[in-house]
């Protein structure tokens, strides 16, 4: 066994260990520890990715002396390793981008608790990515939920507390449904290990036994994870949670937390049930309908919004809708498009949150649209970054969003009865996206007279000030361009990774 194969286990344990360690350290030390942990795990994940891509074979790592199904195990393929690398990168940039806001908005004595939450969140995300066992997934879903809640409410004011309560209730509902689904599945198959469940489910499906409970358990799990990742009718926790929490929390929540659940859902589809059975069960059609509804309704709510952070949050609802629409197509091409959109949305949404905070910094900390007029001139880098993010979300070529829209459209063309709906929804949603994003871009590049600037106390900020945020913005822009310009190798990687899933 190569030493590299230990890295996934080590990265989970390292972040798990860093959580309690941060609670005994001071705020400053905990910050550096957190940055170090994320970077080390990112580097280790790169090594794992290279290893898996070269050997072209997924490997299983036994957690302990007992082989699965008796013990626990984790499983690493290309897709898992790529997600680990990518999540670490995004998390690192989000943490960098929000350094100033964290120091301002969080009480000094609670700084270290924030890093406890971030470390535990990273640990749970890694475990969700790597796990090959449904119950392990559930345990780490719990950690994920609780730490996300802590991230929302650490900036303590009325809005965040309400948002955290709402998030907690909705999210626990989702966890409960997921647990029920797992219980049903365990009762029917007698296994918790994904590969064994898949064998048993295939047997049951072939024999035509237990069709109703199987369908219901699939439905419960999909609904649970859809609630947790804010699919359209369950999105009501999202705008407040993203709109009022501290910057790095909002960025991490929108780009990583919901994506972790979606990735778990992909694993459940492919590794627990088998995608053929999922497609036959028509659950995907339900996801398709709600995905399309989310694409449209999320954008419409975003157009009505008068607060830039909440607008970006509502845009997340629309983008989550895209991802579920891709699943709903029921083809591998659709799922690959969705996975690409997971990556693209994670890179772009965190960019938008950080850039928007750069714009509000120079507008008297107001998030109202009126006050943002001309902000693109006062903070040039943030203006450029916001424009890049907006263009990417709208789907202009060169940026990452274009590729995922292209993939969705291609996948839609292949599916016979959903082609028209997919294309129409994509077109409408693109126009709606353009309406609210271009409206914002035009507003931040509308010059304001000098006397208003003076009167309202607007300031001008250079990229040199707040260096970490500028660095994060530049990295995000580069990441977006990379995803948009050289998408082919990444898509090939996804295709190979998805093939390894089966």
């Amino acid at each position: 066994m190569a030493f590299v194969q230990n890295f996934p286990f080590m990265s989970i344990i390292l972040s798990l260990f860093a959580g309690p360690l941060s609670s005994v350290l001071g705020g400053k030390k905990a910050k550096w520890l957190n940055l170090a942990v994320i970077s080390i795990i990112g580097a280790m994940s790169v090594a794992v990715l290279v290893f898996v891509a070269v050997t072209d074979e997924a490997f299983v790592y036994t957690m302990g002396h007992f082989p699965a199904p008796w013990g626990n195990e984790i499983r690493v393929g290309i897709l898992e390793a790529f997600m680990a690398v990518f999540f670490c990168l995004i998390m690192l940039l989000c943490m960098l981008g929000g350094v100033f806001e964290r120091e301002e908005e969080i009480e000094d004595t609670k700084q270290n608790l924030y890093y406890v939450m971030v470390n535990m969140l990273l640990c749970s995300l890694l475990a969700l990515i790597y796990t090959n066992d449904l119950f392990t997934a559930y345990v780490f879903v719990e950690i994920n939920t609780i730490s996300a809640c802590g991230l929302i409410m650490i900036k303590q004011n009325g809005r965040t507390l309400e948002a955290a309560t709402r998030y907690m209730i909705m999210s626990l509902m989702g966890s409960g449904l997921l647990l029920l689904g797992i219980c049903f599945l365990y009762g029917l198959t007698g296994h918790l290990l994904m590969s064994n469940i898949k064998e048993q489910v295939a047997l049951l499906h072939a024999g035509g036994e237990y069709t109703v409970p199987l369908l219901i358990s699939l439905g419960l799990m999909s609904t649970g994870l859809a609630i947790k990742s804010a699919l359209f009718p369950f999105h009501s926790w999202l705008p407040d949670a993203y709109g009022y929490s501290t910057l790095s929390s909002a960025a991490i929540l929108s780009s990583l937390v919901s994506k972790g659940y979606i990735f778990l859902l992909v694993k459940i589809f492919f590794r627990v049930f088998g995608f053929g059975i999922v497609r036959d069960s028509k659950v995907v059609n339900v996801l398709f309908v709600f995905g399309i509804a989310g694409m449209i309704m999320g954008s419409i709510s975003a157009i009505w919004e008068n607060n830039i952070r909440r607008m970006i949050a509502y845009s997340s609802v629309a983008q989550i809708g895209y991802i579920y629409m891709g699943f709903g197509l029921g083809t591998t091409a659709g799922v690959i498009a969705s996975i690409y959109h997971i990556v693209c949305h994670a890179a772009t949404k965190s960019l938008l949150f950080v850039a928007a905070s750069g714009l509000t910094d120079v507008s008297g900390d107001s998030t109202k649209f009126l006050d943002l007029t001309g902000a693109g001139y006062r903070n040039k880098l943030a203006g450029v970054a916001f424009t890049v993010g907006s263009l990417s979300m709208v789907g202009i070529p060169m940026f990452s969003g274009f590729i995922s829209k292209l993939l969705f459209a291609q996948a839609g063309m292949e599916s016979r009865n959903k082609m028209l709906l997919t294309l129409i929804a994509l077109a409408i949603s693109t126009i709606l996206n353009a309406v609210y994003f271009m409206k914002t871009v035009i507003r931040i590049y509308t010059p304001v007279p000098a006397e208003i600037t003076r009167e309202k106390g607007y300031i001008t900020m250079k990229a040199r000030e707040r260096l970490p945020k500028s660095a994060a913005l530049i990295c995000f822009i580069i990441l977006n361009l990379v995803l948009g310009l050289s998408s082919e190798p990444i898509i090939t990687l996804f295709r190979r990774g998805l093939a390894m899933f089966a």
Partner: protein, 324 residues
Amino acid sequence: MSRRLPKEQYEHTLSYRVKEWLKGTKDPFLGNVEMKPQKEFQEDRKTIVRRDREKKRLFEQIYDIKHNPEIRIFRRAYNIFSVLFCLFLVTMLLLAVSDLPKFGNASNPVNNEVAARYIENGLQETGAVNIVTGMILDYRAFDTLGESHVLFVATCTVLILLRLDGDKKGRSGVGYVMENDRIYEPKNDMILQTVARIVVPPIFIFGIYIILCGHLGPGGGFSGGAVIGAGLILYLNAFGFAKTERFFTQKTYRRTSFCALACYALCKSYSFYTGANHLESGIPLGTPGAILSSGLILILNICVGIVVAGTMYTFYVMFRKGDY
């Protein structure tokens, strides 16, 4: 019956006092126990008015009920849809349950090779007489590792929410809460203190027993830790913070739970690492049934117990006072 003792001396004996107490002429607690009734919770007019105003403001300005058709429609539809949804969920779940394999049937899918190995080889492979402990702390130790960190994260979240830091003035400040910690409870309740003095040491010993013998019989870190935590809470209620803070403060909690979790993580990463790389772990399993047996399970149980006890106590303190 003639009395051997003179009356004054007799009045000091135990039998006289018991007799008096039985007759009900004298209550030994009267005058000794603080019998001030608990203060009822009362709000002054100002806070009521302020709360009403804030509520009104919430509805008028933040939700803007009058001009917000979305919320108006939502409020109307909410009740109907919640009932419909519950009915739908109930029917669906009942339908699914009625189709599940019959409970207790020997040919059920859950009675497969996994359960068989746990039951048949559990003792030899883990050294734990209690198979459940062997399962959660050895076979599926990764899940339990996550589970104990769930408790830790939950405590940290409660600390974020409820811990009072800094020098806020007024009703939410640390000083106010410290001074008024016991407004609504009698001080130094003699009955409670006497009972606590008798009961708390056995509770602790029982909790420690449950933890230490978790691999031999029913019990383990989670249940034993909960018992110890309950003992701590009882002790705190009887004797107040001044006494408990001599040995258990927030710093103690953070350090002990860090040490316990770190120890857990280190032990388990050692066994994960050796297990996955097919190395000998070199940890003896001992003779089943002895206290010092079953490899790492005893240490893990102690770690889990420490975390659980600290978590219970910290939850209680956070909800009561917000700092300790």
